[in-house]
């Protein structure tokens, strides 16, 4: 008796499934856009911190090597594609002048510049270029006593670079890569390159 009841229930279920039509959900609003809305990214005053390396090109390359660089930027987005910022960048180097007494000394280079930043936003990525002028200051006068014959501890500087920014879609955060070319007026050689990663 129990078995007959079981079979009957199964048949009723199968017939029910067979005759049922396709279920369709009711559309009540527009589907979300497949790309992020860049208007929702935070804009206005911003700060970012960077870390990377700074090295000189030409004759100071070997004596100053690759320095560890860290910096920060404080800026304001005037438009979605343009910002002004103040950029502080410091790097630390260990001197290597071969057997000369100037070898093995720790030296820091501090730079402060005012910059203009222009961006091309492409969805959550933006490509940007920045440039400006400022001052650079060496923490000691060791380079002035060296074969490099650096003119002064404090020098004018020009900085310009290109970078790529990736927005994390958490409104306030983005990360990026930046390469800057720096020219200090009193340093021999063509200039320096700073390559950094940053978090904004």
């Amino acid at each position: 008796m129990l078995r007959t009841h079981h079979l009957l229930s199964t048949w009723v279920l199968l017939v029910g499934l067979a005759v049922a039509g396709t279920a369709r959900a009711q559309i009540t609003e527009e589907p979300p856009a497949p790309f992020p809305d860049t208007d929702k990214f935070a804009r206005g005053i911003y700060a970012d911190a960077e870390m990377g390396t700074l090295f000189f090109i030409g004759s100071p390359r070997k004596p100053l090597g690759f320095g560890v660089a860290a910096g920060a930027r404080f800026g304001y987005d005037v438009f979605q594609w343009a910002a002004v910022q103040v950029h502080a960048l410091g790097s630390t180097h260990k001197t290597d002048f071969g057997a000369a007494p100037q070898s093995g000394e720790l030296l820091q280079l501090f730079q402060l510049s005012a910059e203009l930043k222009l961006s091309i936003p492409i969805r959550q990525v933006s490509i940007f270029g920045s440039g400006g002028v400022g001052v650079g200051h060496f923490s000691t006068n060791v380079l002035q006593t060296s074969s490099l014959k650096v003119a002064d501890q404090t020098q004018l500087s020009a900085i310009g670079g290109l970078g790529v920014d990736y927005h994390t879609l958490t409104r306030h955060f983005s990360v990026g890569l930046l390469g800057n070319y720096i020219k200090l007026t009193g340093m021999p050689g063509p200039g320096a390159v700073a390559a950094t990663v940053y978090m904004r």
């Binding site: 911190a49 410091g90 000369a100 007494p101 100037q102 000394e105 501090f110 923490s139 978090m199 904004r200």
Partner: protein, 258 residues
């Protein structure tokens, strides 16, 4: 989150500023020291460190401290300024050689020049018809080092080497310690010759360094004096330069042998 970013950025900047604290100033002599030409195997180069004069307030503080301690407190002391020397000796000849670096100098009270002292002693002993060659130790002497032909050797005279030398110089000058006893003994091991030195001595720092290269081949000494100025007493720009007149150390005449 924005606050965290801001704090992180400020932290990085603070780190940068902290790196600039207490960074040294390097003083280079006018030219390198060269020996081995015209059969002269010892040569000296003098470096003067320019300190600024104390302000009125600083003079008053020094006077008050001097009154409390019972002796004249120096304007430039070893707590405020520390020195070291980085040097490189180049053997310019085709033969291996041996070289050593000697340092004498002057603080604001006393000037000590071992070569001049040796000469004075030799002249005195000649007058006594008892001429014998005398060795007068310098304030600092590095261990003799062998340098291969056309080779280079680098070294450092450290801050603690200077600390011992500066105590010796002050003991010779102001506290009339017997100079050979003072110079031969390491004060960390034995305080012989320092009996008259006060316990709370404020040790004066050098203002003049006489750096000598002594060797047996044609050689060149290049060096840098590394000055760590923790109190901002190095003269800059238009600062009024501190110009004391230290007393030249003159050894007591040698006793006549019977």
């Amino acid at each position: 989150m924005r606050k965290q970013q801001f704090c992180f950025s400020i932290g990085l900047l603070a780190f940068g500023v902290a790196c600039d604290i207490n960074t040294p100033t390097y003083i280079q002599p006018d030219k390198a020291v060269e020996i081995g030409m015209n059969d002269v195997y010892s040569a000296t180069q003098t470096v003067n460190i320019k300190y600024r004069s104390p302000s009125m307030k600083e003079r008053e503080r020094l006077q008050a401290e001097s009154k409390t301690l019972g002796f004249q407190v120096p304007w430039i002391d070893t707590d405020g300024v520390t020195l070291s020397i980085d040097y490189t000796i180049t053997n310019l000849s085709d033969k291996p050689g041996v070289a050593t670096v000697l340092v004498d100098g002057a603080n604001q009270f006393t000037s000590y020049d071992s070569a001049a002292v040796a000469m004075a002693l030799q002249m005195a002993s000649m007058m006594m018809e008892d001429a014998e060659e005398m060795y007068v130790p310098p304030l600092i002497k590095t261990a003799p080092v062998e340098i291969p032909a056309k080779g280079k050797v680098s070294g450092t005279i450290r801050e603690d080497d200077f600390a011992e030398a500066l105590l010796d110089l002050d003991a010779l000058g102001r506290w009339t310690g017997p100079y050979q006893v003072v110079l031969y003994h390491d004060s960390d091991i034995n305080r012989m010759g320092l009996e008259k030195v006060p316990a709370k001595l404020v040790v004066p720092q050098l203002q003049t360094l006489m750096v000598t290269l002594r060797g047996n081949q044609r050689m060149r000494l290049e060096f840098l004096v590394r000055v760590r100025d923790e109190r901002g007493v190095l003269a800059e720009g238009d600062d009024d330069v501190f110009r004391p007149n230290p007393m030249v150390f003159v050894p007591p005449p040698p006793m006549a042998t019977m």
